[in-house]
Symmetry: C2
Subunit: 314 residues, 2 copies
């Protein structure tokens, strides 16, 4: 369930006018902006963008970008976009990043539903005049490229059928492939990039039952190169993305200096989807409420904004 | 342009009733079936299928399958389906075929527009409860698998922008890769599976200008394994699919004993699209009208049906 609290009725025109007041003059009124945009769902935000453009002949996103700054600006910029457009942006930033962090690419490919992923690919065309897999392929090589391009290009079957025989044979195939190290990555790639999520979960369960160890654990025991890391991430995202996100949040706040990009990304992308369950998983694992942890690690408008997306009543 | 001649007005109910008459009793009335279905576009055929189902609680496709036979039956079965459903069927038949003929897979991936290809992938889900790339991957291996899975999973950018510098560097990269034989197929795969068609055509032109030989010619000089054949087919389909189809038709009729599957496939899939231009290319190349060649090589209702799809007036 979502954590976002949005009114069922709102006037896009009134919202646009209030936002105009909040961004005019010396220094933007962060609180007023959060009071509106921190409580509107994706459809409502799009209507507000349109109303703002019509009323003031100005792009609301550009205006907010120039008025706000730092983590608050980045979080607001990501939030205001439509989900597919936002994921396309996040993918593009990840591809261009100097540190070659492919976590976001794997996350988008493996957490989103097949139809959602396709919407991101379409949004990527519109925004960048190239295709997502083209940029991923041009910035990678070898088995890592094959895996990442396969994941972003996938359109997995979405049904709930499970083929138990296939789960057995592919759990065996994965076991062999992991044992052979880099000699049989082809099979790991084929299985992870083409099978349905339901089928893959059955295969991972079969693996654990047969070998007494989780496949992710085995994979990280056998290799820690980029390919193994990406394969591991893909499995975690497919297996239980809420647990995966809990870990991302925990890591983001455990390090000295919070990793704001990761924190923002998880809260912004999940607030309208299942952040409620992710909060529960977080509490179970850390015995601390996610809101408290976030409040401790952040400050100012950025903090207010994240908490409002997390369902804190004003 | 299409060759199909379809009325702008038709009554799905009347058509369904006439078809019912044509399939009832001893032996179906092929001529009557062709007079209707050989002159209806995809939307009209779908409406007829629905009307037939409602009126007679019977699936028109199944009825036709049981009443007709041979090449006529196979052609009619392919024709009556919606385009995406038909391409999904053709892909599935190709994957399951004992002779591992991947021509159809390459053709569908490289001739269709990115959005059309995606519609085929969606139709494949609905029809087979698996995804297209999953079946392609499970039946191939090595570089051929990478190429074919990459092609069927592609969602190329559809814009007309050309990056001349990129065309130059990738023409060079392709040249190097072809020279190195199987050592650098990765780059061939990356370029062919991710770049936009417009960009690729610019790259192929650059290649010919720089090396005085068409890239397809060079590729077949250097290797004749399945990977090289598939890469060559992909380039031909992307470069000029009308010329490609002319060759398919010519080969289908040149051999001793016509290759009916190929003949049917081209006529059925292009009759509503650009068979008129393909006919012109055929005439230019062979100094024989395609209709005459087809009429010479086929007979009976199958012949009548193909000619009617090719625009022959009754």
């Amino acid at each position: 369930m979502a954590t976002l609290i949005a009114p069922s009725n709102h006037s896009p025109v009134e919202d646009a006018e209030s936002l105009r007041k909040a961004v005019k003059g010396w220094g933007a009124d962060g609180k007023a902006i959060i009071a509106i945009l921190g409580h509107r769902n994706a459809t409502q935000r799009t209507l507000i963008r349109e109303a703002y453009q019509n009323l003031f002949q100005e792009d609301l996103i550009k205006r907010l970008e120039s008025e706000l700054s730092g983590d608050f600006e980045r979080a607001m910029y990501r939030w205001i976009l439509e989900p597919a457009e936002r994921e396309a942006l996040l993918a593009n930033i990840a591809i261009k990043s100097a540190d070659k962090n492919y976590q976001v690419i794997v996350e988008i490919s493996c957490v989103l539903s097949p139809e959602e992923l396709f919407a991101v690919r379409r949004a990527y065309h519109n925004k960048y005049k190239r295709c997502l897999e083209e940029d991923v392929a041009a910035n990678t090589s070898g088995h890592l490229r094959q895996l990442l391009v396969g994941l972003v290009s996938s359109f997995r079957y979405g049904g709930s059928e499970i083929n138990a025989k296939l789960a057995q044979s592919e759990a065996d195939a994965l076991h062999e492939a992991i044992k052979n190290k880099n000699k049989s990555n082809d099979e790991i790639i084929r299985i992870l990039t083409t099978r349905s999520k339901t089928q893959l979960v059955a295969t991972f369960n079969r693996y654990r039952d047969d070998h007494g160890i989780a496949i992710t654990k085995k994979l990280s025991d056998e290799g820690s190169d980029e390919f193994h890391k990406a394969a591991n991430l893909a499995i975690s995202c497919i297996n239980d993305h809420k647990k995966y996100y809990e870990k991302v949040l925990r890591n983001a706040m455990e390090h000295l200096g919070t990793a704001e990009d990761a924190l923002t990304r998880v809260i912004v992308t999940r607030a309208e989807k299942d952040l409620k369950e992710i909060k529960e998983v977080y509490y179970k694992r850390n015995s601390v409420h996610l809101e408290h942890a976030v409040a401790k690690e952040t400050s100012g408008d950025y903090k207010k904004f994240l908490l409002s997306l997390m369902g804190k009543e004003e």
